[in-house]
């Protein structure tokens, strides 16, 4: 039987309260989100991929756990076996076994192969989403990644948080 989704805001609130932590400040955007219709059909689109599950490639530095606002470029033809995960706030066992569950690189490569999308951009981007400063995300990380999307000339972007 299907049950209602977990309300992570409510559970975090009660978890923090029972641990004696100060209340967590959620990002709340009440304005209508910026909405741009697709400029072309997906099978003609270059697709960007950005994931926050702490994915890095062998040879790159892993993420640290204290408001790390760095990001990693990962070539979109990288073998899945070269990908690694470092993240402090979710159970990474399945992601380490099969990075596609948080970083669907191979999934999108295969959809490009059967022309569901025209292509995946040459690079995908990853960071470690356990950043407690939304100010740093807003002022540093998000603009940097948006700029990469513009430079990579993607038509749409798939964002994969955990």
């Amino acid at each position: 039987m299907s049950r209602p989704p977990v309300d992570y805001i409510e559970r975090t609130r009660s978890q923090y309260q029972s641990l004696g932590y100060p209340p967590y400040q959620w990002v709340e955007n009440e304005l209508a989100p910026p909405f741009v219709p697709l400029s072309k059909p997906l099978h003609e689109s270059r697709v960007g991929l950005i994931a926050s599950g702490g994915i890095y490639r062998v040879g790159q530095f892993a993420f640290h756990f204290k408001d790390d606002v760095s990001y990693r470029e990962i070539d979109s033809d990288t073998p899945m076996s070269d990908l690694r995960i470092s993240h402090f706030a979710y159970d990474t066992a399945d992601a380490r076994r099969d990075p596609n569950v948080v970083f669907p690189l191979q999934t999108l490569r295969e959809l490009a192969h059967v022309s569901r999308i025209r292509e995946l951009a040459n690079k995908a981007y990853t960071f470690m989403g356990g950043i407690y400063s939304s100010r740093k995300v807003r002022s540093l990380l998000a603009p940097a990644l948006a700029d990469r999307m513009v430079r990579d000339e993607v038509d749409v972007v798939v964002l994969v948080p955990v």
Partner: protein, 127 residues
């Protein structure tokens, strides 16, 4: 894509596809390629067809028959364990430090010799 509906509602992105799985599986189950592919096709279809800004498309996948995993997520319990054990169980996140947290020691050695190609640091690590 999202597996945290209430947080996504609060953040209010232009479009979203909601997959009702435990965190850490936003794009599917490990080793289940057909499922991963279906979820991505549905996600792309949501991207293509959502017309109302802020709309969240609920994808129909279910993690397990009884959804019992939902009982265990961040739930305080009412037993009488010690404060330390209770904290450990309620907050199982790892300690937050400035040190890179490698999946394995070999990854650290590889990063030291390769010098981190494709890494972009937006502030000094001591900030």
């Amino acid at each position: 894509m999202t597996s945290a509906l209430s947080i996504t509602r609060s953040v209010n992105p232009p479009r979203a596809a909601f997959v009702d799985f435990p965190l850490g599986h936003t794009a599917g189950k490990a080793g289940d390629k057909p499922l991963q592919r279906k979820i991505m096709i549905d996600t792309l279809s949501a991207l293509d067809s959502i017309q109302v800004p802020g709309d969240i498309r609920h994808l129909s996948y279910q993690w397990s028959e009884d959804d019992s995993w939902k009982d265990k997520v961040m739930r305080p319990s009412e037993n009488t364990e010690s404060a330390e054990a209770s904290k450990q169980r309620l907050d199982d996140r790892l300690e937050r430090t400035n040190e890179p947290q490698y999946q394995s020691p070999a990854d650290r050695r590889a990063a030291m010799s390769a010098g981190c190609p494709g890494c972009v640091f937006l502030e000094s690590s001591t900030a």
